[in-house]
């Protein structure tokens, strides 16, 4: 596959089909990892992940599925923050909104006929639309820098404060009571319609595979998107917004679209979380919850989607392991890890590690 950038002539050349254009974008300047060695390693990883359930117990598989639920939000933040340079505290707002949307829809229409999947799509759409709205408000209002963080944080906290007091019986949408701080429960998990009897995707092996497939599809799709002209423009905006504007790009549009995409991914996480645990609560939109995705992405690596994906899984798993075995010192170790990462490996631990591996391999080639 050629490593040359996609020039306009190449794109319009009729002998180059759209499919192969997009496939070529799996590798590119905006994502780490190229060449057969990388893809073989990736394929081996996916294969290992697929075989993993055979060697493990139901709890660990369900737990692994739980980790994968959060990766979409992390990847979304990776796009918004890492690629577009916009630090947003708002991922959890879209997370929570979509979670509640899924709950309201499925409680009202039920789980038969695969309607839970329709609810999933609808919730992601609602989350993405809300993100586009907020993005429009911010970027077309020329808000930038830390102010975006404050505005998104305020939006998140307004949602949390509002939802926390919806405990009364008058707070309902159809059959679904919002139930305030105690949280909404009673929604069905994702259900696959099947002739012999619906397959209900509780936390377990079936859900694990569905999520694994989603993660792989999402990851590959994002790679292609980020190496396409769209991704190039995002990075250009991150590096120097004025220059990008002077080159003729409407940076507000690109930022809003990227923000909307990040929001849609956060909404996907929210829907999957609600379906996984049959529960959603306003504290998933609180201050700590809003800061967590930033922590995962910062420690994992934000400049690159692969680093974000792998890094956030490792950090989430690491924090849980610390909590289980470290008892009261877990939070101190987490804090120390954050400080360490910022001082020693500011691009993220995974990104720095991948960089280092790449450099070592290249050195040994000579």
């Amino acid at each position: 596959m050629s490593n040359a950038p996609n020039t306009p002539e190449q794109i319009s050349h009729s002998s180059r089909s759209t499919v192969s254009t997009w496939l070529a974008r799996l590798e590119g300047p905006q994502t780490m990892g190229r060449g057969p060695a990388f893809w073989v390693a990736m394929a081996a990883l996916v294969l290992a992940a697929s075989c993993y359930p055979a060697f493990s117990d139901p709890y660990t598989i369900g737990n692994a599925a739980y980790f994968m639920v959060w990766t979409f939000m992390a990847m979304g933040l990776g796009i918004v923050w890492g690629y577009c340079g916009v630090l947003s505290f708002g991922q959890t707002a879209f997370f929570g909104l979509a979670g509640y949307a899924y709950g309201v829809v499925t409680i009202n229409v039920g789980a038969a006929f695969g309607l839970t999947w329709l609810a999933l799509v609808l919730s992601v759409a609602i989350g993405g639309a809300f993100a586009l709205l907020i993005g429009y408000f911010m970027f077309y209002g020329r808000i930038k820098g830390v102010f975006i963080g404050i505005v998104t944080l305020s939006v998140t906290l307004v949602l949390e404060t509002f939802m926390a007091q919806t405990a009364g019986p008058n707070w309902r949408i159809g059959d679904a009571r919002l139930n305030g701080f105690n949280g909404m429960s009673g929604m069905p998990p994702l259900t696959v319609p099947w002739p012999g009897g619906d397959i209900v995707l509780y936390s377990g092996t079936a859900l694990y595979f569905v999520l694994l497939a989603m993660v792989v599809v999402c990851y590959l799709g994002l790679r292609m998107l980020l190496n396409a002209p769209f991704g190039n423009v995002l990075v250009a905006i991150r590096e120097n917004p004025e220059r990008a504007e002077m080159l003729g790009y409407d940076i507000r549009l690109y930022q809003t679209l990227a923000f909307g995409l990040g929001g849609a991914l956060a909404a996907l996480s929210g829907t999957l979380y609600t379906a996984w645990g049959q529960y959603i609560t306003p504290s998933s939109m609180g201050l700590t919850a809003a800061a967590l995705p930033i922590v995962w992405v910062a420690v994992g690596g934000r400049r690159d989607i692969t680093a974000t994906l792998l890094g956030s899984i490792l950090v989430i798993a690491g924090f849980q392991t610390l909590t289980i075995y470290g008892s009261q010192y877990a939070l101190i170790v987490m804090g120390a890890l954050l400080v360490f990462t910022v001082l020693v490996a500011p691009d993220g631990l995974i990104a720095t590690a991948m960089d280092w591996i790449g450099r070592t391999l290249r050195r040994t080639k000579r």
Partner: protein, 290 residues
């Protein structure tokens, strides 16, 4: 007479909200406004000041002295933190969020492990005064006076003293300051220490009125942040008027519709203000200065 009572009560509510915002955001305004560092550990410096003040107060020191001890302790911790961590982050504001959040986690959990989930506080001094059918806490009037005094002293410090001028120069044009022989590293350290000390002062001032738990900083942090950011980069032209505006919004909404609307109204006001004035209040007001 009743009219006077009502006016006084309205002014009291406003002054109370204003004092809270000004005192809690002063430290953050110095650190963020002057240095561009986003300090998510601000709440923990407040907690440090509050804890030291309570401990000193219970050990027998009179309250004003105890508060000064609290502020000093927080300032010292601030200087140490600056030397170890913040020093490396001046060009990287977004990274300062992560690092200071990590410090905040360490501080909160560390205090929980070392000192337990709660600490006995000191009582609120000075009692109350009655006016008409309502009584008011005199201490809260003192807090209002303190907030005015704080703004005044900071102004004097930054605009009338040598340290203030050097500090502002270093932050605006560090290379030039270095060329003129200023030890910029020391200035940064001292300014951060000042910001931390102001946070500790806030903790000490409010310690007699609040519960002492390791996570007590969380009640201050959102409001201090929004005040500072709405105010924009300059603490005097920005943060003080921002605190006034937000205090009016907060106090009136709470008085008319209750705390929920006060909370939400404050956050919505922040969103609107930032949208209308993307540079914050100080950016907006500075345009009139030219």
């Amino acid at each position: 007479m009743d009219f006077f009572h009502t006016i006084f009560s309205v002014m009291y509510q406003f002054g109370d909200a204003f004092a809270f915002l000004v005192i809690s955001c002063a430290g953050l305004a110095v650190i963020f406004g002057m240095m561009g560092i986003i300090n998510l550990a601000h709440g923990e410096f407040i907690m440090c000041g509050a804890y030291v003040t309570s401990a000193a107060g219970r050990a027998g020191l009179p309250l004003p002295l105890a508060i000064l001890c609290g502020a000093l302790a927080a300032a010292i911790v601030g200087i140490v933190v600056e030397r170890l961590v913040i020093r490396h982050l001046y060009q990287r504001p977004l990274d300062s969020i992560i690092a200071t959040w990590g410090i905040s986690l360490i501080a909160t959990q560390g205090v929980l492990i070392l000192l337990g989930p709660t600490m006995a506080g000191v009582g609120t001094p000075l009692g109350s005064m009655a006016l008409g059918e309502r009584s008011y806490s005199i201490y809260r009037l003192v807090l209002f006076a303190t907030s005015i005094g704080l703004l005044g002293s900071l102004y004097l410090l930054f605009y009338r003293t040598r340290f203030g001028v050097i500090s502002r120069a270093t932050i605006q044009k560090p290379a030039m300051a270095r060329a003129l022989g200023v030890d910029t590293r020391r200035v940064y350290g001292l300014t951060f220490g000042l910001g931390a000390g102001l946070a500790g002062l806030a903790g000490g001032l409010y310690a007699p009125t609040m519960t002492m738990v390791p996570t007590m900083g969380a009640t201050f942090i959102v409001e201090s942040f929004v005040t500072v950011v709405v105010g924009g980069a300059d603490i005097f032209v920005g943060a003080a008027p921002a605190a006034a505006v937000l205090a009016i919004i907060r106090a009136s909404l709470t008085a008319w519709y209750g705390h929920l609307f006060g909370q939400i109204g404050l956050l919505v006001a922040v969103i609107v203000v930032i949208r209308v004035m993307p540079g914050g209040l100080s950016g907006f007001l500075k345009r009139f200065q030219r």
